[in-house]
Amino acid sequence: MTSTFSRFGGMARRDFLRAGFGSLAFGAAGVLTRAPAWAQTAAHAAEKGRILVVVELSGGNDGLNTVVPYGDDAYYRARPRIGIKPARLRKLDDRLERLYKDGHMAIVHGVGYEQPSFSHFSSMAYWQTAAPNRGDLYGWVGRMADAMDPEGHANFVVNIDTQQSLAVRSQRHVPLVFDDPQKFIRTGFADEKEVLSTVATREAGANEAQEFMYGVSRSALNAEQLVRDAWANYRTPIDYGLVRFGLDRVAALIAADFPTKIYYVAYRNNAFDTHVYQGDVHARLWTYTSDHMAAFMKDVARLGRAQDVVLMAFSEFGRRVKENTSQGTDHGTAGPAFMIGAPVAGGQYGKMPSLTELNDGNMAFTTDFRRVYATAIKSWMGSHDAAGVLRGEFEPLPIIAA
């Protein structure tokens, strides 16, 4: 049984050319003229400029219609209406398939955990905390940041969102969280402006809590202008697609030499929750997603950072094998996870779960998701404390080419 990409795009890409695309100038990449004052990197991070980008696809992506087991009859039996026929299985577009063909995309099959939860809320929290069926006060990215950089340097973690994700909650770090760079600003009336920054700036604090607050305040003051500058100065010829869930902003910060090691973005609002008439919706979701991710990888290469960046994409669960009565699918279990980047040894990893030996209609997971995390933490970011971060030993997959 072989699998390959499904046809992600319902339409040819040319349909999506935007009117404004042609006018984007390919100028010199925007570079800040001053190095950020706070950019002291932890010793480890200084050796390698490695960056991890985590992409959370919320809603429970239908893995079976993403990486389609077209050689398995059981797939078509279970999905007489929404199963994707082999004739329609072609590359989504030039870009994401090229990543796979160039050996830069790893697909891990059957990723999940024991006693799976079918609640978006709970299951996503388990993925974000790497604590299935428990939850944790802090996120796995937060704990990874604490392990890699116990001093808690500013902007080590960036989360592009309107709210801080549980995944990046950290004991020692202040994640830089923002969504719209143009709105990342302290608002004040004209008369206040001058005084506002004085009031927010301090030197030494009387106690640890004050020190912490002053540090965050400084970071906000510094980051505020730098984020807005990074965005304003950033120019790219690359089309990031119709749905921009944050990778464009990540690229802007990378271009501006932010010291950030981990970026966390999400395709939000349970977009992948395709219960009803999923054919077109799911295809479109993947057009948007792959356009955005492939654009990012191309942009990173353009910035000369291809060897430094690995992107990891996942969803909080897959979907049931059998289609439902509304030509969609309901919450399921094990789905594929992806790791993408020049440093990745592309190909397929893990074992595709059986479509016939099911648990109450759901696939049995074959790879614990914490192994994918361990791959990122240990093999890619080089942390020696993956076991501490993940609260257990999980063997990395051989995805990162040495």
């Binding site: 999506f16 935007r18 404004g20 919320s58 809603g59 006693q115 079918f118 978006h120 809320f121 709970s122 905390t129 069926n133 939850g135 006060l137 309107t162 801080q164 909650r169 950290s170 202040v174 830089l176 969280v177 923002f178 969504d179 719209d180 990342f184 600003i185 302290r186 608002t187 004040g188 927010a200 106690n207 640890e208 809590a209 004050q210 912490f212 607050m213 965050v216 906000a220 965005w231 119709l242 749905v243 921009r244 869930f245 464009d248 395709y267 609002n269 349970n270 977009a271 992948f272 929750d273 395709t274 219960h275 009803v276 008439y277 077109d280 919706v281 479109r284 979701l285 509304s326 309901d330």
Partner: protein, 528 residues
């Protein structure tokens, strides 16, 4: 802001607090507390009392206060001041109105199905679901059932926001601030979220319980919370049945609510799960289904017997670690984050020796020298709800204003009442602060002092641009399929950087594609 009242506490200095008059005003502050006060649980002396210590007390045991109120506390002895906050039973609070429900629930919504497919399956089997009958003929015969399903999902979400607003208003207006502060603490401890429970009435019921036992008895509180419909629904207790135990409930009770990780084995969890089998929430009542309950012999934490769920809870309460865990958590919320193991043991003993009565523990904490020691003063980061409520109380505002909107603030600052992120509650302290959140807090202050009435849009009546567009088209006579044809899946909310959909040649200018009519509203996010 106004001018300050003259504090009347200007007794001649005695004892350890050498008073130093500040140059700027008449507020008398104490000299820094002795280092020996750290971890010293002995009560402070009356001579140690001062304005700033009274301010610290009301900040922690309440939500802060105006200078006049602080001065009144400062004029008492420490015991009187703590008693005035802790023994609130005698304090009249009749000006507060009970929650006024909108009337969105009716009995046909009892035993609400767990998913849209379940709702329609029930309708297909019985001809009716949620009080709505299947159409005998015509198109989309199940549509009315589906509409009813989504009606309730939306209605309970909105009503929960009203409930949260009512509670926050109570926090601002109450004469019993400690009651509300404790209820807030317990809500974070016994965390449940309406997003999963999908029934504001269960949240309301649990909230009343948290108020009732706020400084009551922890044993009673634990047992009633565990048997409460909100917790049963939140932790899927109904899926824990004889022969197929689901350990989730047992695990959370032990790990998060009572003992903490490392004080029991996995076998204990499995045995406890067996004891909890058959526990179900029958609408707003607790029931045990005998057919689903495993009444066989069990071994739990070294004890043997045919335990049921309440027995398990009582055995847990017998463990020394339980009292220490709870006392420690209260300390970390009310005093400071780092608790010395010795203090945890001693405070655990206070709780245990008082048969899990909470008030004696709180009294001991609020009177202790440790509470007024340097590491405890001015070191706590207020969570968003505390920040909002204390801002209003310190300004002498008597009720929660409608603008800025509480729900919008909750989203921006990162804490939404009645919807904690997980059963582990909210991470305290520094987790509340990021650079973006710090800017948001400054912007909150601006919104309080200069409410933007011109741009105010009630979030409950503003479902966003996408829904508005669909609404416009429906009003113009489009069918549902045509009205939603170029909806971005998952709705908006990712505008972020520029150039998302704006420059796309709109597909709506072409003929809408032939696609099956959708049977779900685009307003609701998840159909399950």
């Amino acid at each position: 802001m106004g001018s300050r009242a003259e504090p009347s506490v200007l007794n001649a200095p005695t004892g350890s607090a050498t008073r130093v008059a500040s140059a700027d005003d008449n507020i008398v502050r104490s000299a820094p507390p002795p280092a020996s006060w750290v971890n010293d649980l002995a009560p402070i002396a009356a001579s140690d009392w001062s304005y700033d210590r009274a301010a610290h007390l009301i900040d922690r045991a309440g939500f802060g206060a105006t200078p006049e109120e602080i001065a009144r506390l400062a004029a008492m002895t420490p015991e009187q001041a703590v008693a005035s906050l802790l023994d609130y039973g005698a304090v009249p609070n009749d000006h507060l109105a009970p929650f006024d429900p909108s009337g969105v629930w009716d009995p046909s919504l009892r035993n609400f199905p767990p998913s849209r497919p379940a709702a329609t399956e029930r309708a297909e089997k019985t001809g009716e679901s949620l009080g709505v009958r299947v159409k005998p003929a015509g198109e989309r015969r199940l549509q009315p059932v589906v509409d009813r399903f989504f009606y309730w999902l939306r209605a309970t979400v909105l009503e929960t926001r009203r409930l949260a607003h009512w509670w926050a208003d109570r926090m601002v207006a109450t004469n019993r601030p400690l009651e509300e502060k404790m209820a807030l603490f317990w809500h974070g401890h016994f965390a449940t979220g309406e997003e999963k429970i999908r029934d504001y009435r269960k949240m309301e019921q649990q909230l009343a319980l948290l108020h009732r036992q706020a400084t009551g008895n922890f044993r009673t509180l634990l047992i009633e919370v565990a048997r409460g419909p909100a917790m049963l629904a939140y932790l899927d207790a109904a899926e824990n049945v004889k022969g197929a135990p689901n350990e989730n409930f047992a695990r959370e009770v032990m790990e998060l609510f009572t003992m903490g990780v490392g004080n029991y084995t996995e076998k204990d969890i499995r045995e406890a799960a067996r004891a909890f089998t058959g526990w179900i929430d029958d609408d707003l009542d607790f029931k045990v289904d005998p057919a689903k309950h495993d009444d066989g012999p069990k071994t739990f934490l070294g004890r043997a017997g045919s335990f049921d769920g309440v027995d398990i809870l009582n055995i847990i309460l017998e463990q020394k670690i339980t009292a220490e865990y709870i006392a420690g958590k209260l300390y970390r919320f009310f005093v400071r984050e780092n608790i010395s193991p010795d203090v945890a043991v001693r405070l655990g003993a206070v709780l245990r020796d008082n048969n899990y009565e909470i008030a004696p523990l709180m009294r001991a904490i609020f009177l202790s020298r440790d509470f007024y020691s340097a590491p405890s003063m001015g070191t706590r980061i207020k969570g968003p709800v505390e920040l909002i409520v204390s801002t209003y109380r310190k300004l002498g505002v008597k009720h929660l204003p409608g603008i800025p909107d509480l729900y919008v603030l909750s989203r921006e600052l990162g804490q939404t009442l009645l919807n904690p992120p997980t059963v582990a509650g909210w991470a305290q302290g520094r987790a509340w602060i990021t650079p973006g959140l710090l800017l948001a807090r400054g912007n909150f202050a601006r919104d309080v002092l200069f409410p933007d009435i011109i741009n105010f849009v009630d979030p409950n009546f503003n479902p966003g641009a996408e829904v508005k567009r669909v609404n416009d088209r429906i009003l113009a006579g489009y069918s549902i399929g045509e009205a939603t044809v170029d909806q971005e899946p998952g709705g908006g909310g990712m505008e972020g950087g520029d150039k998302t959909m704006a420059n796309v040649s709109p597909r709506s200018s072409r003929r809408p594609a032939r696609r099956p009519l959708r049977t779900r509203s685009t307003i609701c996010r998840c159909a399950c």
